[in-house]
Symmetry: C2
Subunit: 199 residues, 2 copies
């Protein structure tokens, strides 16, 4: 792509293509779209990125991403103390938060235990979680980890560490709302059957 | 999304979600990824966008997007004069250019004729195309418009305007390389059959 566009435009396309969910083709489309909507998209995006690059930080307490050292959730007095929801990732925290149902606070692990990638408890803010359980007087820990092998391994490890000190729970497994049995895997159907509820 | 992240981060996610190919979920993923790779992605992207926002412009001659008033292709002395390839969009020009096969120059229409959206020849740089055919001594015009109804309508209109003045051609239609007949529409198969080549 030497003659058809400038170095900066090429470099922008190449960097956009590194974002998750974008490839070379969609990066080209996005860049052309931004150039066409320069005042509405390209300039404001550049400004916002600059400002987020300066201000974004991890909450020192829970690991959420925000613009202060202690995130809005940890700082809010409206959130119930005593309850912690443990999630793998900031994206999972945001997903939980969109439901608006959980009123406690969070703890973001930053991944899952993995022997292959040599990720141990120390890499995962698990020591910090155990600290918080003691120092914040937590009585219930909800393990909202992904229903994957790594997620469940990590949940078991944490449950072992906290056993006897707090009430532990994990998210229910079963048929998703709107889910059709024919399209579900056998594991999910088995879990839903075993956890059947009397009506 | 009030408590879980800052205003700037929310605004960045909302604006990223406006890019073609991205939605709210992929915008969130992209923004989290960028924040994690701040020095490698977020800051350089902000800088590149700022610089492209300032420098990007349409080539006054062909409509390609670059960083000078006359694009690299129009300015290059290596490109054959006398041959013009007419495309709908800058993305199409870049797609042609990636093949490296066409050695002439381009003319970007900026869309297709459309009675519904009241897009006439004046909105499409068609007058400029006719000017160029005369002033640049063009002998062959390749109509590389998309094989859609609008694209073909536009191609017919341009062919009418230029008839008798230049040699006109359009891209061949047929089975794409790697294409399987079973997955092709009847129109494509019909076109490929009618344009069959003796071997």
């Amino acid at each position: 792509m030497s003659e058809h566009s400038s170095q900066d435009i090429d470099a922008l396309i190449e960097m956009m293509a590194k974002l998750p969910g974008l490839g070379p083709r969609s990066a080209r489309r996005a860049v052309l779209h931004m150039i066409r909507k320069r005042a509405l998209l390209l300039t404001p995006l550049a400004d916002l990125m600059q400002s987020v690059a300066v201000s974004a930080r991890e909450c020192l307490n829970c690991g959420n991403i925000g613009t202060s050292d202690i995130c809005g959730i940890c700082a809010s007095e409206k959130r119930a103390t005593g309850m912690l929801c443990v999630v793998e990732d900031v994206a999972d925290l945001w997903a939980m938060e969109r439901t608006g149902v959980f009123k406690g606070r969070y703890h973001v692990l930053g991944g899952t235990l993995s022997a292959l990638d040599s990720v141990g408890p120390e890499q995962l803010r698990i020591p910090k979680l155990i600290d918080r359980v003691d120092s914040e007087g937590i009585s219930e820990v909800i393990l909202a980890l992904n229903a994957t092998v790594d997620g469940q391994t990590t949940a078991h490890y944490i449950a072992d560490q906290l056993e006897g000190r707090v009430q532990l729970s994990s998210l229910a497994q079963g048929v998703p709302i709107g889910g059709e049995l024919d399209y579900l895997d056998e594991g999910t159907i088995t879990a839903a059957l075993n956890a059947r509820k009397q009506i």
